[in-house]
Amino acid sequence: MCLYYSLMPSHSSGGATAKKTFCVQKVREDFPILGTHTRAGKPLCYLDNAATAQKPQAVIDALSYFYANQNANIDRGVYELGAEATELYERARKKIAARLNAASPAEIVFTRGTTESINLVACSLGGSVLKQGDEILITAMEHHANIVPWQQIAARTGAAIKVAPITPAGELDAMAFENLLTERVKIVAFTHMSNVLGTINDAAALTKKIRARCGAKVLVDGAQAIVHGDVDLQALDCDFYAFSGHKIYGPTGVGVLYGKQALLDSLPPYQTGGDMVVKVSFETATFKRSPHRFEAGTPAIAQAVGLATAFDYLDTLDMPAVRAHEADLLAYASAALREIKGLTIHGNAPNKGALIAFTMQGVHPHDIGTILDSENVCVRAGHHCAQPLMGVLGVQSTARASFALYNTRAEIDALVKALHKVNRMFNE
């Protein structure tokens, strides 16, 4: 009976010993949806990966296997099935902690996604440290998820929000950022990679600068960066790091908040209820330490296991080759798009992740989206939950093609062909 858990048989070893490879055609076979949704002979060309990524069969199977073989509630059962589920859930935490180089699994809190992770910090940290006259520093390239929660806590505490501007190329204005770093700033929240501009911010350098200037706590929105870079939390040294499972080839309904342990343990809880308490009376309650303190109620158990499986899957791939492939897609697509008449790319930072937001003269992004869809090319059209940035860019909305490790040059060719059709329909 010396369990602990029986991992899903199919991918319990694999990754560790097998030689890691990356062949995009082989990888595409791992993602079942890519073979579906053919329309009028045209294969599905999914280029909306920054919104949500597709899932490899390994993740889908891990979920099915969990429900069919391992399902029980966690942290409560004296029976073996319950211990097994608990072990699987905590193994997921350990896996993620190890992969991101957290100091301890206790620093990994499971949430619903980036949005909840940031709300948690805004509420628990912001609610504790902010007072009238304090400042929260964000940047002009933030997603709504890294703006609105700060507005809410600012309104509640009397703090003010300051916005670090960007350069015309779409980079953070380093000088302006530094000038805004005064002693009044108690929290700095910035994105590791913009979901519109693609800009990758040097989070380690920014954190160092912040530490040198003031005692502000640092939250990094890693929703996009986790997908396109190799996150090392010790190197970054930020206080909090937030991301979503569904963008990194994992299930919906789960995400992560990393936080430094001492800091997490010092914060008041966010949601409250079962499993996060040590003791409850009718009058009062005492709370566990991190991570359990922040996981009230039954968490997304199967989804946490599925997310760990997504990382397990990535571990079977030759990641440097994946990065090179993504860089190639970005370069190839950028060059091709620049050739298209009337097309403007928004975001030209030298350090840029694999996505391209663009507008076309005389055509609204929505119409681009619809025409591309008629060619089975899926791109996003809209403000990408970054309306303030749209204002800075002087547009109402943009189209955006965003790439995953399974995309190909052929798909970019299909995108380009469809964009020519847009011009034919609207600009001839």
Binding site: H364, S374, S397
Partner: protein
């Protein structure tokens, strides 16, 4: 004609490029703004009522071809009509897009060029674009300051 061509009929593309009734309306008695949170598009509609009659109607704002053409067609359709007639027209537009007969052409009273909006029915994701200006007109006539097509 394939579905895409039906959506982007000549009339639509023409109204998109050369929208009618576009601009501020000094002396407007009613105005309302319509927001489409999906893309951030906004259309503001101005109405000048004389008694019960829509003496003039105009719109400003950015939008896709569908929403702009729809706004343009709207100004043509309701200018000179009574409030009751305009309301009836709004209802017809509403019914066209939300009616059970989703996929057949309904007995929609074409009012001339407006029928060109029928192509939108095959694109459920774009219905909000087509109805944005109409929602704003409706709100303006009701004296509401704004409306959002959530």
């Amino acid at each position: 004609m394939d579905e895409l061509d039906e959506l982007y009929q000549e009339i639509i593309l023409d109204h998109n490029k050369r929208p009618r009734g576009r601009g501020e309306l000094p002396g407007a008695t009613h105005t309302a703004q319509g927001d489409n949170p999906l893309c951030g598009d906004e259309i503001r509609v101005f109405v000048r009522l004389e008694g019960d009659k829509i003496a003039d109607v105009k719109f400003i704002g950015e939008g896709c071809a569908i929403s702009k053409a729809s706004a343009s067609l709207m100004t043509q359709a309701v200018r000179g009509k009574t409030v009751a007639q305009a309301k009836e027209q709004i209802q017809k537009i509403h019914d066209m897009f939300t009616g059970q007969g989703c996929c057949e052409h309904t007995s929609f009273d074409t009012d001339g060029e407006i029928a060109a909006l029928g192509g939108v029915k095959k694109f459920p994701q774009r219905v909000k674009c087509a109805t944005l200006a109409w929602h704003a007109l409706d709100a303006a006539l009701d004296g509401k300051p704004n409306v959002s097509t959530e």
